[in-house]
Symmetry: C2
Subunit: 230 residues, 2 copies
């Protein structure tokens, strides 16, 4: 009886995992077991994309604080939902208050912050879900690392561009004021550099377009990438 | 002209955030800015649940290695997808190879591992997505903390129960063998305790049910919780 169930389970485990190649690699140390199941996530992903009728991408929006990243991100998510797409916004506020609340703003913590965001996005797209990321992500290095983790083919770089002066005038969180007063150190644009992307997939100039125009432009760029094709 | 755009942006930002109460709280130290935007995520979530026609829950499956958690999780996800539900499996393999690959198996790292998983699940349900979690999560303390982060009303505790002897016979990853040989230390069930849930929402005895029966039983329990009601 018990034997039957064990066999049954073995059979089912085999059936489920048969399409994937599983290679289990163990480290040598007992305490820190490192194993990796080389499951074919691409197969699972394509199944989900088929069901959701969408191709999942990471829409990575970088730009200064106040350039309009989160505002555009939430409006874009809404427009996509209205068209039947399933997307999730990741931004500083939902990450810093939850998953990454153990992290500060040192260089090491910023790097770890972005690593986790990239891994999280990768997980979302492996589930067929579009990831809309709104993070200052100021340096070439940070964005390059995010692109590496996520994969070139799934990474769409969007530069939300507004001159510092405009962002500082908007200053809806009062951060620039605090940075100018020296209450916040290493603030991007003030005493920490922003390296504009040299070759973004699309650039949205939010000092020249209003919100709806910005979102429409981004949407028109995104749709061909996520429309389900096969 | 520029002034117009700034006003326009302020207006739109206000329009978007008007339904939420935003309170921005700053810490005193410049280097580690801690701010929290008290956005009404519940409002966003209900909008998404409405669009996806489902209520999002975290289905937290605990149990010994080899009890069948991941197997059931992936089959459950599939059954849910076939019924039009959007769900995402989180298990040791996709977490440990990505988001949590910086973590080992010390007590501190295990705690951090589970904290991140709970935060990640919370984020998924805030996006209206059902989270199916398959983790040994051996102690009362760990599960209690996960429940606290996720919230009582969204946390469904599922005990995937099979006797140690059966799990050890299955041993599809060869982990028990290694634990018995002393190559893996602190292995749950061998030299590290498993505290069975005292009052799980549902218990699935995988030594008595085959896979399909296990999944059906769980599915019947889950459906009333996720069916869209209003």
């Amino acid at each position: 009886m018990t034997g039957h169930f064990i066999l049954s389970w073995f059979y089912h485990i085999f059936t489920i995992f048969a399409p994937y190649s599983i290679s289990t690699v163990f480290g040598m140390q007992g305490k820190e077991i490192q194993y990796l199941q080389d499951i074919d996530w691409l197969y699972l992903r394509s199944k989900k994309e088929n069901k959701l009728r969408q191709h999942a991408k990471v829409i990575w929006m970088c730009g200064l604080s106040g350039s309009g990243k989160s505002t555009i991100a939430f409006k874009l998510e809404d427009e996509l939902f209205n068209r039947g797409y399933v997307a999730q916004v990741l931004d500083g506020d939902n990450l810093r208050s939850g998953l990454n609340k153990d992290l500060g703003f040192s260089v090491r913590d910023r790097t770890e912050n972005l690593r986790r965001i990239a891994e999280l996005s990768k997980m979302l797209i492996s589930g067929g879900i579009i990831s809309i990321n709104a993070f200052i992500s100021p340096t070439f290095k940070i964005r390059k690392e995010a692109r590496r983790i996520i994969g070139q083919q799934d990474f769409l770089e969007v530069y939300i561009n507004a001159p510092l002066q405009i962002c500082e005038q908007r200053d809806k969180k009062g951060l620039y004021e605090k940075a100018r007063m020296g209450l916040i150190k290493d603030f991007t644009g003030i005493d920490s550099p922003f390296e504009p992307p040299l070759n973004p997939d699309i650039e949205i100039t939010t000092d020249k377009l209003d919100i709806q125009e910005s979102v429409d432009r981004l949407l028109n760029f995104i749709l061909p990438h996520i429309e389900y094709k096969n």
